[in-house]
């Protein structure tokens, strides 16, 4: 009994490893199929190694059907591909379907239904070895299957530790982060104690004389040195803990995008379209709960891009476009704000069809439509049940996508923007706060209040002399070298009461989304590494902050959004108190 339980646990543990190996083979196959690599031999070798590992692990666990399946897949790759050549689409189809069958059957073994599966010899005899795409006893064979696979919860455990893994409650990770934040505040308090000690030394030196004074000063100096060491140790512990928690609680964005390469490929094969999915910034790591919540929106957006956005190769060529459509997922993080843009160079949204659909569904009235700006009409696609698809396909067209995308992102405390130009394409920008980790911040003073700016957005700081400023104070520009930047006075844009200071003034050159401004402040206080927390939900409508951080003694500093400083009132809101479950 013990052996059976232990074996069941080992098989369960194998799912995560097999899933990783299948993903690796999928990546290599897609690269070889599309000749997206110069290292053909290396990719072939990687596929062979992964399939061999799958075979070996299945054999070790006594899962004979999977061992045989992996062995046959090795045979297929060896027999029908050349190490120096791309791989044929038919072979790629076959191996990808074989991997689907492998994972499908492995999960069946885990949940105990493996005994009811058809014998693998029958599966193989019915098509696999004959290079036929038909494969019984496997998962459903349609283009939607790969998208469905991309939506499945991640099988990677939160903590991977070789053969043994732990499952960790995300709330416990969040609780750990709060403790780390307390340690950070403790470090600030230690700094404050050291300043107090220095002040006492100064008072004692001025007021007392004699040996007692010397002894007190000597003791205080020793205490200060010890406090300095303690402070550094606290800093080291905080850093180590935070790195550890980040490792446990985050994953790179590519983890949720990788399965979509396969999904796009399969959908293109089914629809006769050609599209290439690219990911920029996939190495940015995000909270696993955020990534889980992003899967749905990404799948909807990318599926819609292929299904409704990208035209057929013939249409594209007739429009003077490249025969292959482009879908780009671009990830950026500024401080605590993450933005993910999904864009395509397809036909753009059919605004008339959206308007008709919204009217037909009763989502809006004619009067409301009449009062809408043309650029707002496309946003009707976010209303429930509004779809422009002429027919419901296996992959999209039921109108349950875009409102779900908006809802998911709003639940993350974020917002969605949509821009579409007919015949040029569609761009959907999702912006939301990251959940985990600290960010380096620059603390500044404007009038009597302190604010912070994510250091990653601060290009430089400078003291602007009168000759650096043109049009001061009303139409001021900061000019240095070749550069001329608009000056944004922080006190003025925040409506703080102040006396307008005269140059020289302190300026921060802030950049965001390719734009720059010089932000005039009253004082640059310094930089700190702080955890950015979301603002309470009552401040959901306030667009200029991305959150707040707690300083020593419990003071709160508001974190300004660089895109708000650069772009002003049109910046989408980051709402607050996200409900990540």
């Amino acid at each position: 009994m013990y052996r059976a339980d232990a074996l069941a646990q080992l098989i369960q543990g194998f799912v995560a490893e097999a899933s990783d190996l299948c993903e690796s083979v999928t990546r290599d196959l897609l690269a070889l199929e599309r000749s997206e690599t110069r290292d053909f031999a290396g990719r072939h070798e990687s596929i062979a190694r992964a399939l061999h590992t799958l075979k070996g692990a299945a054999g070790t666990l006594g899962i004979e059907d999977l061992e045989l399946l992996a062995h046959r897949l090795e045979d297929v790759v060896a027999a029908h591909s050349s190490p120096q050549q791309p791989i044929a689409s038919l072979v790629a189809d076959l191996v990808l379907r074989g991997l689907d069958v492998f994972m499908f059957r492995l999960r069946a073994h885990v949940d105990g239904s493996g005994v009811t599966l058809e014998a693998i010899e029958d599966v193989l005899a019915s098509g696999l070895l004959a290079l036929s795409p038909a494969l019984p006893a496997g998962p459903p064979d349609d283009a939607g299957a790969a998208f469905a696979e991309a939506l499945k919860p991640s099988e990677a455990p939160l903590v991977a530790g070789g053969p043994q893994t732990w499952r960790v409650d995300p709330d416990q990770v969040t609780a750990l982060i709060k403790e780390i934040e307390r340690l950070r505040v403790l470090r600030f308090r230690l700094d404050a104690r050291r300043r107090d000690a220095a002040r006492i030394v100064s008072i004692v030196s001025e007021s007392w004389g004699g040996p007692a004074s010397r002894e007190v000063r000597s003791l205080l100096a020793g205490m200060d040195a010890a406090a300095k060491i303690d402070r550094q140790e606290v800093l080291d512990i905080v850093q180590a803990l935070e790195d550890g928690v980040k490792t446990i609680g985050t994953q790179p964005v590519r983890v949720v995008v990788d399965p979509l390469y396969r999904a796009v490929r399969d959908l293109c094969r089914n629809t006769g379209k050609e599209a290439r999915l690219s990911l920029v910034g996939g190495e940015i790591s995000l909270d696993r709960r955020v990534l889980e919540a992003l899967k749905g929106p990404l799948v909807h957006l990318i599926r819609n891009a292929v299904d409704h956005g990208i035209e057929t190769p013939e249409e594209r060529l007739s429009l003077g476009k490249h025969h292959e459509g482009s879908i780009v997922v671009r990830v950026e993080q500024q401080g605590n704000v993450v933005s993910i843009e999904v864009s395509d160079d397809g036909a753009g949204l059919k605004v008339d069809a959206i308007r008709r659909a919204a009217l037909d569904k009763g989502a809006v009235t004619e009067d409301e439509i009449a009062g809408m700006a043309p650029e707002d009409l496309s946003k009707l696609i976010f209303l429930p049940s509004v779809s422009t698809a002429e027919s419901v396909t296996a992959t999209s067209g039921r109108g349950i996508g875009m409102d779900a995308v908006k809802k998911n992102i709003e639940e993350l405390g974020g917002s969605v923007e949509l821009h579409s130009v007919a015949r040029q394409g569609t761009r959907v920008l999702m912006t939301f706060p990251a959940q985990l980790g600290s960010s380096p911040l620059l603390i500044v003073r404007a009038s009597e209040d302190h604010f912070a700016v994510p250091l990653v957005s601060v290009e430089s700081v400078a003291t602007a002399q009168p000759h650096d400023l043109r049009g001061w104070p009303d139409e001021a520009r900061f000019e240095r070298g070749e550069r001329s930047l608009r000056v944004v006075n922080l006190s003025e844009v925040l409506d703080l009461k102040q006396r307008r200071s005269a140059p020289p003034i302190q300026v921060l050159v802030i950049h965001s989304h390719g734009q720059r401004v010089a932000v005039a402040v009253d004082e640059i206080v310094g930089d700190l590494e702080l955890i950015i927390r979301p603002l309470p939900r009552e401040l959901a409508g306030v667009s200029m902050y991305q959150g707040a951080s707690v300083l020593a003694h419990g003071q709160i500093v508001l974190i300004l959004r660089p895109d708000w400083l650069v772009g002003g009132r049109d910046v989408p809101r980051i709402s607050s108190s996200p409900s990540v479950s």
Partner: protein, 183 residues
Amino acid sequence: MNRAREAEVAALSSEVRELLVRRAERIRTPNAAPLDADDEVMWVASFRLGDKEYSIPLSALRAAIPRRMVTFVPGAPRAVLGILQFNGEIITALSMARLLETEGHAPTPILLVVDLGRGHNVALDCEHVPLATTMSLSAFRAAPLSAGGILRRVPGPPPGVSTVIDLLRLVQSQDPWAGHVPR
């Protein structure tokens, strides 16, 4: 009273027992409204704001804290006084007077931290530390709603009518876009 508690009470000297009974009597009597013996009561925290008496359910009250360390939030809605840290959480401090669109008489040195439900805490300013008291549940239920269901004027013994505030509705009634700084 459970057995352990009964044993504890029995172990007290008669003098101490009498003292405790008198103290309990004193705490109950001054603020508790005389009620029909059969009537159920609800506990409320009552306070004055301007010329009116207001109440909130006592169960929602988490703490009364001094009004300090509130960080001003430029661009926030008018009713937002700022944000502060409470038990490691950043919460919003709101002006009760502005939410109720009334005028207070005094600067408010006290903030009441209240739970609007599911652990959603906010701080509300208050002119005085509120008094815990009771009101008739049947009178509360019979009282008419006003201000879009936010207020319920419940008649009672002197000092007379107390207006019970539905805190969640009150906070939700604020326009989140108000006070947005124009650029």
